[in-house]
Amino acid sequence: MSNYKDDMRDDEIRVIGAQSRKQKTEVFSYKLDPPGPQKPRKRKKAYLWALLLAILLIIGLILLLRSGKTKEDPYDGVFEPKEEIAVQPVKQEKKILGHEVDSLSSYTERIDTVINDVGIAIFIPHNATPELWVGSPPEKDPGIILAVQAADIRADNKEILGAFVYRGTPLAWGLSKSGYCAIIDGEMTIGTSENSPLFEQATETEGYFFRQFSLVNKGVLVENELKNKSVRKALCSRYGQIFVAVTASDESYHDFSQALVDLGVEDAISLVGSKYAFGWWIDRDGVNTSFAEGWHKYKKENYLIWKAR
């Protein structure tokens, strides 16, 4: 979608129709070169002739085939057809979003969609391993194809809010939010639970763990008390696929969560949102794009990053 090229300039107008791309009108040029009303009719006639010719050819072909068949088997129409058409049960396939992984290149795919009037950009990391990162982000590392701020920072002491495990080492123990994300042996799990065994497992296996607001739990919307509107960001799981969803404009948690449910997301937790939450993504062409308009730096800012395999 974002690869679409539009050659229009602000000084131009164009009457939309089948030939609209050619019928560009610049200032004062309309009088000099008006769109001819006869030309489309000529084209229309040519199309009609071509269509008529095609129909005649098809009829001739059908007659030819039928006459050939009659010679081979004169009793063909007498008997019931021997081959029966087997009726296959329709399988409901779960369709994942974005490209199927078909190459060794690592990149983040962006899909823009609108659900219930909520504009959402979906960022899908391909061929990448998730990890947590604490401290200033490695923004110049081209091997990191997607980075988003993970756990919130407390306003009073600037420490990480909620339980947090970094490479097996617990850095925070709080339980203020029921949503969690655990990365064990490179596999990410998103869920909602006040007491997840994955915290301990992360400490035992040099894994990662952090907590955030739960937005969707097993396909059901989770209501949050915060009612203000802001640019929202979420870590989502859908049919086994993990992606980051970001709203195009300021939205409430309720509207965002509802849109994620309608998208078919099974589990989702929020990520640090607003226009100032730093992060970036690298597309298929290697273009690095930032999520943030500004950047609020914190001592223990932490990131969820995807490293190219």
């Binding site: 679409y4 229009m8 000084d11 107008i13 164009r14 939309i16 089948a18 009037d117």
Partner: protein
């Protein structure tokens, strides 16, 4: 009966009678589609893509829709005022819907000439 313009995405299908579509504005990678009843919908298409869709769906002949610059498509049946000096175009159904839109001076001169030279 007027033709319908159908805008389909991964998750939504928007279906609007072409004579009820007043104008479309660009909003980054998205567009806002305004209808004569005063509502609008966000769609996940860029304006150029919607322009192609309208052209394809309304057939070979000229449609009443005019692309004006990078960020606007207007149904000329609803053009109420073109003010070149103020660089605005007002789109209205004269029944309560009244939208003031910005456009470049040169584009407005072109559209004014087009309207003057076209039998409507």
């Amino acid at each position: 009966m007027s033709k319908f313009i159908v805008i389909s995405t991964n998750t939504e299908l928007l279906r609007i009678p072409s004579d009820r579509l007043m104008f479309i504005t660009s909003d980054g990678n998205y567009s806002k589609v305004y209808t004569q009843d005063g509502h609008y919908r966000h769609v996940a298409y860029q304006l150029g893509q919607l322009e192609d869709m309208i052209g394809d769906q309304l057939g070979e002949d000229e449609t009443p829709f005019i692309r004006i610059g990078k960020s606007l498509i207007v149904n000329r049946d609803y053009i109420y005022l073109i003010d070149v000096s103020s660089q605005i175009i007002i789109v209205s159904d004269c029944q309560g819907q009244f939208h003031t839109l910005q456009a470049s001076r040169k584009a407005l001169i072109s559209i004014k000439l087009l309207m003057e030279n076209t039998e409507l």
